[in-house]
Assembly symmetry: C2
Homo-oligomer: 236 residues x 2
């Protein structure tokens, strides 16, 4: 059994529609490649109680929980405090995190009171390196807390993922057939029944006026996927 995961995206700006999230998709691809089965993505507002409740729900159900957003310097960056509350641990400015932040500013006065908020780390957490803008993320138990800004999020994912134990990477094959989904559905159901160990999906598309379907099979077993791919090809 592969380890499992959920992603918790935190931010009013996603729920208002102002921001199209891309961090979820970025990490989803990385987890698939690492053999960690992503089973849920959840988006919640910048609300202390909601974040705390979601964290406690998700961390009990999945091997890993990855969060994005709410760890910057402003008043609405409340993720770290909510995580500490979820784990019932203390949170305060930590010396190593403060030193990392200080190294980012030529003028010590620039590390003002609000920026120092980014050095608030819950007791017992491990820092996640941020080579882009220094302010670190952190892991507490099985919860990994990262930034919302996509370039920083991606950098933190690169720092974190090699430290996690993955499973068998989920591989996929995809065959495009120039037939509408309803035309291949019956044959596809037969293939799905013949390969119950392989996840088989179909995704309709319209390309230059032609209705087609992408047939996709997913499994850690590449040999098995090759057999399914050959069956897919008979539907072309």
């Amino acid at each position: 059994m592969n380890p499992t995961a959920a992603i918790l995206l935190i931010g009013d700006e996603i729920l208002s529609g102002r921001t199209q999230d891309t961090n979820g998709n970025h990490l989803a691809k990385k987890l698939t490649a690492a053999g960690i089965d992503l089973l849920e993505i959840r988006v919640v507002p910048d609300d202390h109680k909601t974040i705390k409740t979601a964290i406690n729900d998700l961390r009990g159900r999945y091997t890993h929980v990855f969060t994005s957003g709410g760890i910057g310097p402003t008043h609405d960056d409340i993720t770290a405090d909510a995580i500490a509350a979820a784990f019932k641990v203390n949170i305060d400015v930590r010396e190593d995190a403060r030193a990392i932040l200080a190294s980012h500013y030529a003028n010590p006065a620039d590390l003002n009171e609000m920026r120092l908020r980014m050095a608030r780390i819950p007791d017992g957490a491990t820092l996640i390196d941020n080579p882009v803008s220094k302010a670190p993320g952190f892991s507490l138990g099985n919860v990994h807390v990262m930034a919302g800004v996509p370039v920083v999020f991606a950098a933190m994912v690169e720092s974190l993922l090699p430290t996690l134990t993955g499973g068998l990477p989920l591989c996929s094959v995809s065959v495009r057939v120039e037939q509408p989904e309803g035309q291949v559905a019956m044959a596809l159901a037969d293939i799905a029944a013949a390969f119950p160990d392989v996840s088989i999906g179909s995704y309709p598309f319209v390309h230059q006026g032609v209705f087609g379907t992408s047939l996709v099979a997913r499994s850690p077993d590449k040999a098995r996927l090759a057999v399914v791919e050959a069956r897919f090809s008979t539907l072309r």
Copy 2:
């Protein structure tokens, strides 16, 4: 108090990272404009029990639940059955839905057994019009079940939204300042404290090498927003 909402996105292809969801963002913007407060987005796999559990959780907590995905003709399109199970009602091919589907095919034989699955509607549901490819969505209680293909999803949203009672549309103002977030955080916290009824957020950006921050205020009260906007402008 505005009505509230959650979006449930159903599909292995989003969790594997193959597909970048855009339906959530599309509907989020529409709900904001309609005065319906979107408080959660959740992505779950094509799994009967998981969909059923999520539906029963969300429909009890929000005024509306909107789903996307899993209502096509193939074996992995299991949303309608999961919704029926969540509501403990029967599901079968419904004559009006079958007639709508039939009108889409010149050759009656094209409405095959698998395509007929798209006419399976839970007892007590109301159909949602699909002007793009006919196969309807449906509303059952406060759950609105729509397609995953973005162009079809968007068409169904247009059919559905005018039938729902909205609230005060959430408006927003945005001011870009050419200062890093940590530099304006303190002044922004003061503004947030002075306007507790207005949701105030900040989003850092880098543009042509300059670190800047977008200051965003959200409220249904436009006069109040104009006052906040003037305060934002003093930070430029």
